[in-house]
């Protein structure tokens, strides 16, 4: 835009290097840089260089393996499916917790966080015993010809379980902060409930939904504990990439393990970048970003 933009009152960010009134900018930046380097950048660099240690060919070979490719595709596919499901279910759950408020909603609210706290292996074993062909839910489903445990469906289920809190916890506060007047304004303008949801609420929640989706997806790609029990780990059917990494390590095939790791890292980074880029282009973020603080 060519004309000048009146700034909404709020915090303005100073350009880098300009001394701020609040002290400790240098110190806080230094500390941040240090731990980000020590905890994130260094291990990632090690991971990125390790596969090349034995030569580029070894790495390509490790990736050309059909079993590795299938495991990667399975991990990303299931994570994508699970994150999508989480986004739908999480939105619904957040809505119920914030707007419907059924009796006992506080208990429900606490239950949402259980997957955060529960050891993932426990969750995995529980899900497996429930959904195995002999389990409470698995048996009737089995009679209908639907197999959940030991199939990609089971993996997705486990990933939905661990991913759901990410969506609920990102969407809920945003929903809570949305002024009721927005819905009322839409209503006085003649909008029907469906139109209010689609044109007012969803766009306002979209950035939070995208973030929740990204988090659930990232968690799903790397998830290990809750998946390995229900997956059954049959090569070329239900073997996930993180498990294959462990198998390769046990075979002392470090190059193969780190090659898969590297691919997962790159693919996950790309996906998250794409989500961030998409998120920034959403009208709801646009409206906020252009005006500075809102």
């Amino acid at each position: 835009m060519s004309h000048s933009v009146p700034q909404a009152p709020g915090l303005r960010r100073l350009p880098f290097g300009v001394p701020a009134v609040i002290p400790g900018r240098t110190l806080s930046f230094g500390l941040t840089l240090f731990w980000v380097t020590a905890l994130v950048v260094l291990p990632l660099t090690a991971l990125a260089t390790k596969p090349f240690g034995r030569g580029f060919k070894v790495m390509l070979h490790a990736l050309g393996d059909a079993r590795a490719l299938h495991a990667l595709a399975l991990s990303f596919g299931c994570a994508l499916g699970a994150a999508s499901l989480c986004t739908l279910l999480g939105l619904l759950l957040a809505w119920v917790l914030e707007r419907v408020r059924p009796p006992g909603w506080r208990l429900l609210d606490a239950l949402v966080d259980i997957p955060f706290a529960l050891p993932t292996a426990v969750a995995g074993i529980t899900l497996t015993s429930l959904y195995a062909p002999t389990g409470w839910i698995g048996a009737p489903l089995d009679r209908l010809g639907i197999k959940v445990a030991f199939t990609p469906l089971g993996i997705t289920l486990a990933l939905v379980f661990v991913g759901l809190p990410f969506v609920v916890r990102t969407v809920l506060p945003v929903l809570r902060e949305l002024p009721r007047e927005l819905e009322e304004a839409a209503e006085t303008l003649g909008a029907r409930p469906g139109q209010i949801a689609r044109r007012v609420l969803l766009p306002a929640l979209a950035p939070a939904l995208a973030t929740g989706f990204g988090l659930a997806f990232a968690r799903g790609v790397g998830e290990y504990g809750s998946v390995i029990f229900i997956a059954g780990n049959r090569p070329m059917v239900s073997e996930i990439a993180p498990l294959l990494i462990v198998i390769r390590l046990q075979e002392f095939n470090y190059a193969g393990a780190s090659a898969i790791g590297l691919v997962m890292l790159l693919a996950a980074a790309l996906c998250l970048l794409a989500i961030t880029a998409l998120r920034r282009r959403l009208p709801a973020s646009l409206g906020v970003r252009l005006g500075g603080a809102a």
């Binding site: 304004a185 303008l189 003649g190 007012v200 306002a204 979209a206 959403l282 252009l290 005006g291």
Partner: protein
């Protein structure tokens, strides 16, 4: 369109927020709902809008009974206190919203919507801002956009909930004169909620004063000022100075009570008294309505201080025993009173009210 409220009541839990209000707003009228916070004025406005479904009584807009009609079918325009603009939409999209959500049969063509939007944005004088987002606008601009959005669907009734509350005083003054002109130009019926009585006095044809959910008085600004139905109304509409007094059998005020007892004073004619018969009364006046006349009489009030207040001189006037003082404004064109001199009070412009509890005491 006129609005007819009949016996409207509304409970919040067990607390009555609105108690049995009946009120008629005629077509083209600008009505202000005023009252202290918690008086139920916003609740009443939301009932009229259809945003507060749990009420009893009957409500018509124009000839149509809308008691059980949801907000989206009442064809009203509502301007919220915090504007409630859609942040993810540009100004133009915000204004177009009400037209775009119409069912296909009643929805204007794309071009017609665009034309209507730019016409409205011109009307509220924010034409060049059509492609901005609400966060890029100043408070006054947001206010105008919210108004344009409310007007887009050609409502029969415009409801405004404290629309100037968040604006700075200069902008506020400008935008309310502008709103009044707009109201006349478009031939709207408008209801404005405000806690600022000066705002109400300036823009409204009639003012409804609410207190604790009940309607205290509805009248023109002049009538409210000249003939307030209760001390509350008089006090709410501006600064007041009060005196306790006693009335004789014919209802005429005889003397002041309390610390002012014995002060020479002139009193209003009996006709303005609330009723015949002796008893205790309360006299209420604006500070500039009290006349001061220098006197050497015994027991006169004393002028103990003065200062300038705009076109007035502000006098502190003390009761003869010195225990009690009031502030009186006097046009600075009148000859100044000597400091520490005695003065008589001219209270002929006082509104006279029965004193609360006067009947019980039997004094």
């Amino acid at each position: 369109m006129g609005v007819d409220l009949r016996n409207i009541s509304c409970l919040f839990g067990r607390t009555p927020a609105v108690r049995d209000i009946s009120l008629r707003v005629s077509n083209g009228e600008f009505l202000a709902l005023v009252g202290p916070s918690g008086a139920g004025k916003t609740t009443l406005l939301r009932i009229i809008a259809g945003l507060e479904p749990n009420y009893t009584g009957q409500l018509s807009i124009g000839a149509r009974d809308v008691t059980r009609v949801p907000a989206r079918e009442r064809n009203i325009g509502f301007v919220f206190q915090n504007y409630a603009l859609f942040r993810h939409m540009t100004v133009a999209e915000n204004v177009a919203f009400g037209l775009r959500v119409r069912p296909r049969k009643r929805r204007p063509a794309r071009a017609a919507i665009a034309a209507r939007v730019s016409e409205l944005l011109e009307l509220v004088q924010v034409g060049p801002l059509a492609q901005r987002y609400p966060t890029q606008l100043s408070g006054g601009q947001r206010q105008r956009v919210a108004l344009a959005r409310a007007l887009a669907t050609e409502p029969e009734l415009l409801l405004l909930d404290e629309p100037f509350g968040a604006l700075d005083p200069l902008v506020r003054k400008e935008i309310r004169t502008w709103l009044r002109r707009l109201h006349e130009r478009l031939g709207l019926t408008s209801i404005l909620v405000t806690h600022d009585q000066s705002e109400a006095l300036e823009v409204a044809d009639r003012i409804a004063v609410l207190r604790d959910g009940s309607l205290e008085q509805v009248d023109t600004p002049d009538a409210l000022e000249d003939r307030p139905s209760s001390l509350f109304v008089h006090q709410f509409l501006g600064e007041t100075v009060g005196f306790d007094a006693s009335a004789g059998t014919d209802g005429a005020i005889l003397s002041l009570n309390g610390p002012w007892n014995g002060t020479p004073a002139r009193f209003p004619e009996p006709a303005t008294a609330p009723g015949p018969g002796p008893g205790r009364r309360h006299l209420s006046l604006r500070p500039w309505e009290i006349g001061l006349e220098p006197t050497d009489a015994q027991g006169a009030a004393r002028v103990t201080g003065m200062g300038r207040a705009g076109p007035f001189l502000r006098y502190a006037v003390r009761a003869p025993d010195g225990s009690h003082a009031v502030e009186v404004l006097r046009p600075s064109s009148l000859p100044p009173l000597p400091e520490d001199g005695g003065c008589a009070l001219d209270l002929r412009l006082a509104r006279v009210f029965a004193q609360p509890g006067a009947d019980d005491t039997g004094a």
